[in-house]
Symmetry: C2
């Protein structure tokens, strides 16, 4: 097969390079950058550094010689503002590159289009919109957060063929296979926080870490919704709270004594309002947005998933399912939704499906 080295080819490479560091770049999005000479030879490749610095463009430009005809591909519009890093637009202008190809604009209203304008004003030719949808999908949670100050949310479900997540007696080991469960750990890596309801903590005593070899240090913050602060002071989350950020959202009336006990374990306790269906998810998300969380992965229980699935912040539902069948009395994947008409079903579409050794991962995406 002949490789056609066009803009799509190089941008696809840049997106894949960006994917490599997804979940490891802190509040900054992971950007991919590829620099190509006039004869279509790749002369440099980089992505955003661990923790968010250096930026991909700066890294890619370092130590290379820019000749006539060199093109720089980047997955996201280069920044113009000086934050933790110098603005990439200046780096590009100073490098001498005369052509820049961009997948998608930065949707931050404070940035959008300004990066491109500054490049063009410096005499650089800019092409935008190459693999735009792929890049926008990749930055979906980030864009949600910078537009609204509220993180995007993803949902993870692992169920039997008939949509049950456990037997009536609570057993759930293992409904899905090893490959599905490993993919689940990858999702933890990709998200900044992982959120569960208190019943999941009480029932499973989970650690909620990313247990892929070598990636444990990128485990997301653990977030627990716990109205009455029933959180056990010796559970696995409490034991590891001094090493991995752990936040409990609770109601205004929770016991001060219990709060202090948990704070001593290194757990942060945040009081938020309640609604008639429990703690206000949106209040928790607003708090996390202020902390620059881009994305939250919600893993259960089914009540929390039910309130998340209709949220305007919803990005994707990752649904792993196996060939096992559990029957009516098993635990349902999703709590009560009070739908009286099928047209009011959550507005999702099937975005992708992946075969995981005969388990299936269906990725549903929220329609905007």
């Amino acid at each position: 097969m002949q490789i056609i080295k066009n803009d799509n080819f190089f941008m696809n490479l840049a997106i894949n390079v960006a994917r490599r560091n997804k979940g490891m770049t802190g509040a900054n999005p992971s950007v991919g950058c590829v620099i190509v000479s006039r004869d279509k030879t790749i002369i440099s490749i980089a992505n955003t550094g661990i923790g968010g610095s250096p930026h991909a463009e700066k890294k890619a430009l370092e130590g290379i010689e820019i000749k006539t005809g060199t093109v720089l591909y980047t997955t996201l519009e280069p920044c113009v503002h000086k934050g933790k890093n110098p603005p990439c637009v200046d780096e590009i202008i100073n490098s001498g590159v005369k052509k820049v190809v961009i997948a998608c604009l930065d949707k931050n209203p404070l940035v959008r289009g300004k990066g491109i304008k500054k490049l063009e004003n410096s005499g650089i030719k800019v092409i935008k919109g190459i693999l735009e949808k792929d890049a926008e999908d990749f930055y979906d949670e980030f864009f949600k957060r910078i537009n609204s100050n509220i993180p995007g949310i993803n949902i993870k479900i692992a169920s039997s063929a008939d949509g049950k997540t456990a037997l009536k007696n609570g057993k759930s080991k293992w409904i899905t296979n090893k490959l599905s469960r490993n993919y689940g750990h990858k999702l933890r890596l990709f998200n900044d926080g992982i959120m569960v309801g208190i019943n999941t903590v009480l029932k499973d005593n989970p650690s909620l870490t990313c247990r892929l070899s070598g990636l444990n240090k990128f485990s997301p913050s653990r977030l627990v919704m716990d109205t009455n602060l029933r959180f056990p002071i010796n559970c696995n989350l409490a034991k590891t709270a001094k090493n991995i950020e752990t936040i409990i959202f609770t109601s205004k009336n929770s016991s001060v004594r219990k709060i202090n006990l948990l704070k001593n374990k290194g757990i942060e306790i945040i009081k938020i309002p309640t609604t008639k269906s429990g703690l206000s998810l949106i209040s928790a998300l607003k708090f996390l947005g202020k902390r620059e969380f881009n994305s939250i992965l919600i893993e259960g229980g089914n009540k929390l998933i039910a309130s998340a699935i209709n949220s305007p912040q919803l990005n994707k539902v990752y649904w792993f399912s196996s060939e096992k069948i559990i029957g009516e009395e098993g635990k349902p994947s999703i709590g009560k939704l009070n739908i009286t008409n099928l047209e009011n079903s959550p507005n999702l579409f099937l975005h992708n499906m992946i075969n995981l050794d005969n388990n299936y991962l269906k990725i549903y995406k929220a329609k905007n």
Copy 2:
């Protein structure tokens, strides 16, 4: 692409020709036959006739000249016994064909291997086992019936992504899309009988016919499990019972008066034993086996599906699912199974998956 005209190529064609008449050949299986000259030219193609006659081999041999090197491909071991049709083995021997390729043996213990033996004793070279698994899968229900005198059963489920078949208020129009529903009608064509529980009749007032254009006349017999004979005398099934065979299975205590009312509508009433979970499915199946039903499609409700899914007669589960989400209070696909350990989940594997315009049909097959 170059077509490689080997045994697999011609047998694949024969199987596809057999598929064309599936569901239209009565108690006989639909067989496909392809006859190929020495230079690999196809000189004849046939399948079992509508209603079961003539047999495919006889039809294919009619009016063609057999020269040296001609090969006959057939999906099923040719019959040696004279039933409604003369034995195909004799037709083949008399035709002068000197090489026969067979996909799978007839699993009927009275036939198995005898057809091949007779061919070989007449100096014909026989190759067997070409695309054997595909053919055995195609004849699975038929083999089940001739081995045990009990038909094979298939289950059809149409559900939301979370495995629900209706809203709490009973609404189910439409959870799946048009293409899924059309495929459902094809399943009705492929099976000899379609079985539902009485609650499905009371709730949906279904016709249970194959409503694909031109195929209505191949609608399967309608079979209803109705312990207390609650069957409404003016429902759609009753109205059409004089044209399409309709059988109600009921308990020994059902009212004689109601039985006579229904018989007058053209409905057959069969009394069978009850078990602690209702009418005995196996008793109904045994009755249908005596009537030479090869396959029964079970469409609901979820209690009937729950008793069918662990049956040794189970062949396949056809599970259509959409992107809609209904939530905990919706109607579950499968009734109670009383599973206390995941290893006791029904023994299925994923056989195939088909994209139906972004609905998905997963076909699970029972492990033997």
